[in-house]
């Protein structure tokens, strides 16, 4: 297998009043682990349940209740680490992050500060223009999600829904290797793609199952290179963390707005405070979440209710052996084995289902033709109807059948589109349909010749014109196609028309 190689993307700069600034971005992606039970309780994680119906005693932090780790969630975190080519730590530990909030019943979140389960890894982020950035992963740790506070149900009271409390999250922390808003969005998209391939997170951003905290700082050109050389953050600017983003579009806007805010501060002689901020898409600004006086001291310490987590290399190896083919490998294989373009391979590997569909169509057939049909005809049609590849009315076998008829020369490309329409809306076996409805292409030159002769004989005036201007031959081709109900082999028609007009 050939590894794909890419150029580095151009670093995005923002022009300030005095000089250009570069962006430095690191992301903390919070991915809800796909698990039917919570991280430390047996309560269900089903989305959209009645408020406070998926709550075990430990989730509600009843007195004396204790957390017990969900082994399945550990497996998913390890699987994710392996998918990001990361170091798996056979010993990790849980810590308590202490703060008060009504949707945090324990008064602390169980997380992994000091000894995370996954260490350093990397992600290749393609930007779609032939460039890609390799983003380093610093760590992945497991932690509990918080519940939801609801402030708009009553004018004087707030309500709390603990359904989400204790749901397992992975926090995937990148190094500050992302250099612009587009790269940030592409990074999150790639992360989402990998997680969905692995099956460790469904990637549903609307439900909040995938969201990100984005750390943004700015620096003068040249500073980032010094940081990379030394890994000394002193070369970089002070960062601000924009919390809880769950839209690719808003992430890009927020980064841009935040960078410009920081530039304005620095260029007017001020200093950027390290703080957490929220993005307000309506106003197009980021706002400080809390004043310095309210800044949290989380008082992290090892959770004495949980023993250190020790896993065995053999168990990790078993998980590694069960990993699916991941996007980079699949894309590379599609390019190499099916002769696809980088773009087509990217589109087809965007998710496992599309890739699987394509492979079923392409197997033993013309890969490029299969890619064209899947991307242009099928995806286009599905999108129009609001369908997804998983509920496509056309099966890979059916689409493969259509492609076979084209390759064999039984039908023309144009007829094939009609056939696709029939298969899409009525179903059926493409070959049977072609047979039953007489859609087979006429390659019998005698029949075509007769049709050509008739058109030439019926239109002497046009013949004169066409002889003067060979470009008008197309009109004759059209007439012949019309007369044969579109079934004539267009190539044969072209050749005959040219010959007859010339003769």
């Amino acid at each position: 297998m050939l590894d794909l190689t890419y150029d580095l993307p151009k670093i995005k700069t923002i022009a300030g009043a005095k000089h250009d600034w570069e962006l430095v971005i690191g992301m903390e992606v919070h991915a809800q682990i796909s698990s039917s039970a919570k991280l430390f309780s047996g309560a269900s994680t089903k989305f959209g349940a009645e408020p406070n119906s998926n709550v075990a005693f430990v989730d509600a932090a009843m007195p004396g209740m204790l957390p017990v780790i969900n082994e399945y969630c550990i497996e998913q975190a390890v699987r994710t680490g392996l998918g990001l080519k990361a170091q798996i730590n056979l010993k990790s530990a849980f810590d308590r992050k202490n703060y008060f909030y009504p949707d945090l019943p324990q008064g602390y979140q169980i997380s992994q500060l000091y000894e995370p389960i996954v260490g350093e890894g990397e992600v290749l982020v393609e930007l779609g223009d032939g460039t890609a950035r390799l983003v380093r992963i610093e760590r992945i740790h497991m932690e509990q999600d918080a519940g939801k506070s609801i402030h708009d149900m009553d004018p004087t009271m707030s309500f709390v829904d603990l359904n989400r409390t204790g749901v397992a999250l992975m926090e995937i922390v990148s190094r500050p290797d992302i250099r612009g808003p587009e790269e940030a969005a592409a990074y999150l998209a790639k992360m989402r793609q990998i997680l969905r391939y692995l099956g460790t997170c469904d990637g549903n951003m609307q439900n909040g199952n995938l969201r990100a905290d984005v750390n943004v700082s700015i620096c003068l050109p040249g500073q980032f290179e010094k940081y990379m050389e030394t890994q000394d953050f002193a070369h970089l600017g002070t960062r601000c963390e924009i919390k809880n983003m769950n839209s690719m579009r808003f992430i890009q806007q927020a980064i841009d707005v935040e960078a410009r805010r920081q530039i304005a501060i620095l260029e007017s002689g001020g200093t950027v405070d390290q703080e957490t901020r929220l993005y307000d898409p309506d106003k197009g600004e980021t706002r400080s979440m809390r004043s310095k006086e309210e800044a949290h001291d989380y008082r992290y310490f090892p959770d004495p209710d949980l023993l250190p987590l020790e896993i065995e290399q053999g168990w990790v190896d078993d998980i590694a052996a069960s990993l699916p083919e991941l996007p980079d490998a699949k894309k590379s294989r599609f390019i190499n084995d099916f002769g696809l373009s980088d773009y087509d391979a990217s589109v087809l590997t965007a998710d496992v289902e599309s890739a699987g569909y394509f492979e079923a169509v392409a197997q033993g057939r013309d890969g490029k033709l299969a890619a064209n049909w899947v991307i242009n005809e099928l995806f286009g049609r599905l999108k129009k109807e609001g369908h997804d590849i998983t509920d496509s009315p056309v099966s890979p076998q059916q689409l493969g059948g259509i492609i076979e008829l084209i390759t064999k020369g039984d039908i023309s490309g144009k007829i094939a589109k009609d056939l696709f329409e029939i298969v899409y809306s009525e179903g059926g076996d493409p070959a049977d349909i072609v047979e039953a409805r007489g859609m087979k292409q006429v390659t019998d030159t005698g029949a075509i010749e007769a049709a050509v002769d008739k058109v030439i004989a019926d239109n002497p005036a046009q013949v004169e014109k066409a002889r003067a201007n060979p470009k008008l031959a197309g009109w004759f081709v059209g007439q012949v196609m019309k007369a044969t109900g579109g079934k004539a082999n267009p190539k044969a028609v072209n050749e005959l028309v040219s010959k007859k007009l010339a003769g």
Partner: protein, 495 residues
Amino acid sequence: MSDLNKLGLAQARDALRKGDTTSVELTAACLSAIEAAGALNAFVHKTPELALDQARAADARIAAGDAPAMCGLPLGIKDLFCTKGVPSQAGSRILEGFLPEYESTVSQNLLDAGTVMLGKLNMDEFAMGSSNETSVYGNAVNPWRRGNDDAALTPGGSSGGSAAAVSADLCLAATGTDTGGSIRQPAAFTGIVGIKPTYGRCSRWGVVAFASSLDQAGPMTKSVRDAAMMLTTMCGHDPKDSTSADLAVPDFEAMLTGDIKGKQIGIPREYRMDGMPEEIETLWTQGTDMLRDAGASIVDITLPHTKYALPAYYVIAPAEASSNLARYDGVRYGHRATLGQGDGITEMYEKTRAEGFGPEVQRRVMIGTYVLSAGFYDAYYNRARRVRTLIKKDFENVFADGIDAILTPATPSAAFGLGDMTDADPIQMYLNDVFTVTVNLAGLPGISVPVGQDKQGLPMGLQLIGRPWDEGDLLNTAYALEGAAGFVAKPGKWW
């Protein structure tokens, strides 16, 4: 039979099996003793109807020949244990009105063994205290008095209600919990036996947490045999507690032979404290002699990091407590302060916790918050954890050298007067734990056995510390000591 409430567990079990009495009779005797002992303030939530129902069910099982190990034996349960449908307040106002919908594993184990619950026992608030004076219910009172002096004495803490109840024969035995000495110190102050097993022996599930890495439940009983019997029932692996040990529990009672010939008993020189009362010193020497006379060899040992144990304990325990007690916020259960106009969530937290927690709990929450805070974490918490490792290593070293058990005083004095410490520096009160906290820090089993009385007639106890997971051997040594000491005194009834 008369005075059924004065029986121990093993005696009552045998009487039940022989048909000499019934669980209903035993239970009724205890209930009337409890009714007559209001002055001791030991029981804070009584469950007489539940108890009699359980007693009747137990009698039916005994009659059917289907009696589990502790069938029909009436117990008191420390208020720290969550008991289904029965108030469980941990001695705190903040859990006012809280009725658990679940039963702690340890109390469930006891129920499964056929025991009868008489009610919930007084304790220091959240098990923080050595005198029972931090309880929201007001302190329990020690049934023992100094000679003819009628000054009220502390039963110790935090399991003071349990100790007073067992000592005054209000129940046959009681559960306690021990984070820094909360079983062993009150046992010593009231002339009863109390054992804290190895950390991980008893499930902590359903026991209100004080300091999770130190908390252990254990029995408080009238004899070592009773302790062995009850501990066997209380222990066992619990998948609901990740720190619970997946080890088989032997029948500890069956391991009581009284034969300790050839055992090596360590006497740690660091436990000989300046200013220790002479009577404690003498008691320790007497206990040493008793074990030697029983055939054990006595070895001087050193546990060099002992002096750092108390400060380390008073960093680690409050640190964990500050986090464990964060859940008491008035949002979901227990006390919530009445809020004023314009009060928000911050005011709700502040007012609720200020009203709901007493001063000692507030002090420890503040200490714990401080030692975990940024900039102090390494200097306090991490340092205390390192000390803890060294203390553990001290014990490992002596056990590796062949020591079977270590004999120390249980407390630096006999029971003191209620109110005596009110104006003292809190450190004075913390010093009560000086001999016991090392055992919690090291996760070891420790037992307090009544061995003698001071000049004023107050009971005094010695502590034996055993190897981890070897409670059977420890109990057997305690059994030998108990036999040699022959402590049979009971408090004169004044209540």
